[in-house]
């Protein structure tokens, strides 16, 4: 270091910058991030919602750990809540009761924690739906999509381990269901259950174990994944919606400093404010209503938190018998009979397995079918990718059917229908729903695309009715401006790619399968309007006058 000519800062900012820079080299970072551009759109905010609710979870969770004791030792409650005075419960439940009734603001913090948890998983889910439907997972962001999927699973794990901690009747029965599902696993299930509970259900070990997972390894992994996720976001730069001036090689938006940072920072406080409002005015998980866990009682409306609901719903939809054939198979082996509990195994593992497998693999599935390996930084409007939107909606409908099934009893009581009928309908929907959703959604997308074509070719409806000299009525159409026209015509025009022979001139079976998918996805498509078409349409106007109605119906 030849520091003969020492830099002397003149302003206070300069002095701070010099201090930091000469120690950690902060200037490079400021140079990199200070004016980095982020595009602005409301649908890009869900990731931030997820991040901020997670911060709230860390804050409120830390507060709760100071008062919560996960022990399952049996004690007699003697706190403020009269209807449970003198009742035996675990220390975990007692300390949760104390947080609620005997720590000032404890109830508020519990509610902040629980509402944030529900919002956290919800915003992660909506964020992933946004990424999926706009095609933001495409190259180069496939790995970030996978990291996002891992974050979703970790969010479920965090929520689930937390749900069980208060050791009240609701969470205890939830654990018992988990025990039943674990026991259904062939060969090792019984032992896994024994190890998990430290012996038979419920034992006295499970809640401290879940607590360790809930406050240490799971949040640590979430933080790690968030760091990787954000690192990749910065590396890739954000995607942007299509539009004039937005290309695959630029980013249009606001600089981090000051506008974007102010908005993003302000948004944290807004999320905090919303969660505080909800927590102040809406009660969540009133454990004192449920009472302490006891294996004998159960409450009507015993459900998991919403994000586990789809698995619970699948369990409800599964019939135990098909006609007279039980779905619990007793298999005679030489050493004795063993039981394969399909009625639990199938619903617990298969739907969730399919959902997550397809979700993780989708970027590669799409790349394989479309043979599109280019980098994409401009998003698709969902209508311009009818195949993907259709598949996504099929998944959403499938998920929502299972999700709804988890509240079949409440649907029955609130809409005055038979519980059994609700189950029958949802079973039907479980099978046919995704197919209907795929085809209907794709039709809707194609129709919207045609509508866009109409608007480009014939202008938008002005809402002005004109009368011609002959007495006919027609609506005036106004031509759209070049910016809008660019938005409506500039989209990825994906086409059916028939099976291609390989170098040896042979068409492999895999390629044929790909071609089948390609045909299913892209056989029907609507192409963007070309300048030539527009010119022809205009010529057509001059000849045909004001009678566009025919051409619309064409």
């Amino acid at each position: 270091m030849s520091s003969t000519t020492e830099y002397t800062p003149k302003t206070s900012t300069g002095r701070i910058a010099n201090f930091v820079d000469s120690r950690v080299g902060g200037s490079a970072m400021v140079k990199e991030f200070g004016r980095k551009i982020f595009p602005d759109h409301w649908s890009f905010m869900f990731g931030e919602v997820a991040l901020y609710t997670f911060v709230l979870l860390l804050l409120s969770g830390t507060f709760l750990t100071f008062f919560f004791d996960p022990s399952m030792t049996h004690v007699t409650y003697n706190g403020s809540y009269v209807p449970l005075k003198g009742i035996g419960m675990s220390v975990a439940m007692q300390s949760t009761m104390d947080i609620s009734f005997d720590v000032r603001g404890g109830l508020f913090m519990r509610q902040v924690h629980h509402w944030s948890a529900l919002l956290f998983v919800a915003s992660v889910s909506v964020h992933m739906l946004r990424v999926f439907f706009t095609g933001a997972f495409r190259r180069p962001r496939e790995l970030n999509w996978v990291v996002g999927g891992v974050l979703l699973i970790l969010a479920l794990a965090a929520g689930f381990t937390g749900y069980s901690l208060p050791d009240d009747l609701l969470s205890g029965n939830g654990l018992r269901i988990i025990d039943g599902v674990i026991k259904a696993i062939p060969i090792v299930g019984t032992y896994i259950s024994m190890f998990f509970f430290g012996g038979e259900f419920p034992g006295i070990h499970v809640i401290p174990r879940l607590y360790s997972l809930h406050i240490m390894i799971v949040p640590a992994m979430i933080i790690l994944m968030i760091v990787i996720h954000l690192f990749m976001v910065v590396t890739h730069k954000h995607t942007q919606y299509p539009g004039p001036g937005r290309t695959n090689t630029n980013v249009v938006g606001f600089p981090v400093g000051p506008v974007y940072a102010a908005k993003a920072g302000g948004f944290f406080f807004i999320i905090f404010g919303i969660v505080a409002f909800i927590s102040g005015f809406f009660q969540i998980n009133a454990i004192w209503n449920y009472g302490p866990y006891d294996p004998s009682p159960v409450s009507a409306g015993t459900q998991p938190d919403w994000y586990i609901g789809f698995v619970d719903g699948a369990l409800r939809l599964m019939p135990g018998y098909l006609g007279n054939l039980p779905l619990e198979w007793v298999i005679p082996f030489p050493w004795g009979d063993n039981t394969l509990v399909l009625s639990v195994l199938l619903p617990a593992l298969v739907p969730a397995g399919i959902l997550f497998a397809v979700m993780f693999a989708w970027p590669w599935i799409e790349r394989w079918v479309t043979k599109d390996n280019r980098e994409h930084h401009v998003l698709d409007r969902p209508r311009n990718a009818p195949f993907r939107t259709g598949v996504g909606m099929a998944g959403v409908v499938w998920y929502c059917t299972m999700w709804a099934a988890a509240s079949s009893d409440l649907i029955a009581t609130h809409f005055l229908v038979s519980l059994n009928d609700v189950t029958y309908w949802l079973r039907t929907l479980f099978i046919v729903g995704p197919f209907i959703a795929f085809f209907v959604t794709r039709r809707i997308c194609l129709s919207l695309q045609r509508k866009d074509r109409e608007i480009v070719l014939h202008g938008r409806e002005a809402g002005i009715i004109q009368m011609s000299p002959e007495g006919g009525f027609s609506e005036k159409h106004e031509e759209i401006d070049v910016y809008k026209r660019y938005l409506l015509t500039n989209f990825e025009d994906r086409m059916y790619i028939p099976a291609q022979p390989d170098a040896a001139g042979h068409i492999s079976r895999k390629e044929k399968r790909r071609a089948k998918f390609s045909k299913l996805f892209f056989e029907d498509r609507v192409a963007p309007v070309t300048p030539k078409e527009l010119e022809e349409a205009h010529g057509h106007h001059e000849v045909e006058g004001a009678q566009h109605s025919d051409s619309i119906e064409k």
């Binding site: 409301w42 529900l118 909800i278 209503n289 009507a300 609901g309």
Partner: protein, 263 residues
């Protein structure tokens, strides 16, 4: 029994008498094993009440339950159901039933208190059954809410929900919410087992325990919620629905405002 004697010359009197005799014998036999408070409810009701009750019965109930409460395809026999059952069913508006369905629905009460007690007296006069509970067992100041809560969770919460907000049963039947139900009706429901509810006789849940249960229910009702609106007291489903609609709705509203260009 005066009321009955008036009709003894009815063509069907002999048949009715025979039926009545059989049913009384049967129900007495069934009730004999029970150590319910099956006191003869006639002790408090005057003969005039019974007579008035019979008139009301013939005019309002006989279509389904039969002229002499012997029952028909449309409704069960009421012999031996006791005054408590009538007081509950009519007093909560479930009877007379508006239409046949999976179960009788609550609707505005059709009779005044006096008429209800007359009807109860009449039905009680037909055969021994649970009577209307004494005030003593409805006095929540004497009950133990904590013990009542334990009894409630073991015996009632699986159908009525731990927060007493109700729940579903099979094929369109349901267990109603217990909020806003009077002490007397809760007690009567326990002893008589209306609709598909099981009977909780006094050997299963003692009158003191029933009072504890009522005390518990009235305590949580009076308490209300600690943390704000209860969202129906329905548990995680309502909470999830709330987050997805109101919670995300507000957030999207703010996000749209945040990214919109000001004028």
């Amino acid at each position: 029994m005066k009321a009955l004697s008036k009709k003894r010359r009815h063509p069907l009197a002999a048949v009715a008498l025979l039926l009545f005799g059989l049913l009384v014998t049967g129900s007495l036999y069934a009730a004999a094993g029970s150590i319910n408070e099956a006191k003869a409810a006639t002790t408090t009701a005057s003969a005039a009440d019974i007579e008035e009750g019979q008139k009301l019965f013939v005019a309002n109930c006989a279509t389904c339950h039969g002229l002499n409460a012997e029952g028909s395809d449309a409704g069960p026999t009421l012999i031996g159901v006791g005054a408590a059952s009538v007081d509950f069913q009519v007093g909560t508006g479930r009877m007379p039933m508006q239409m046949q369905g999976p179960q009788a629905q609550i609707k505005p009460v059709q009779f005044d208190d006096e008429q209800i007690s007359q009807l109860s007296a009449y039905v009680a006069s037909l055969g021994a059954g649970p009577s209307i509970p004494d005030e003593e067992w409805l006095d929540t100041s004497k009950g133990d809410a904590a013990h009542g809560g334990t009894v409630f969770r073991v015996n009632c919460a699986m159908c009525h929900n731990a927060a007493a907000s109700g729940g579903a049963l099979t094929r369109g039947k349901f267990a109603p919410t217990l909020h806003g139900v009077s002490e007397k009706h809760i007690y009567e429901a326990m002893v008589t087992g209306p609709q598909n509810m099981p009977v909780f006789n006094d050997s299963n849940i003692t009158p003191e325990e029933k009072r504890d249960v009522i005390t518990f229910l009235k305590t949580i009702e009076a308490n209300g919620t600690a943390g704000g609106a209860a969202l129906g007291g329905l548990g995680p489903v309502a909470e999830g629905l709330f987050v997805w609609t109101a919670g995300l709705g507000i957030i999207i509203g703010f996000a749209v405002w945040l990214t919109a260009r000001p004028s």
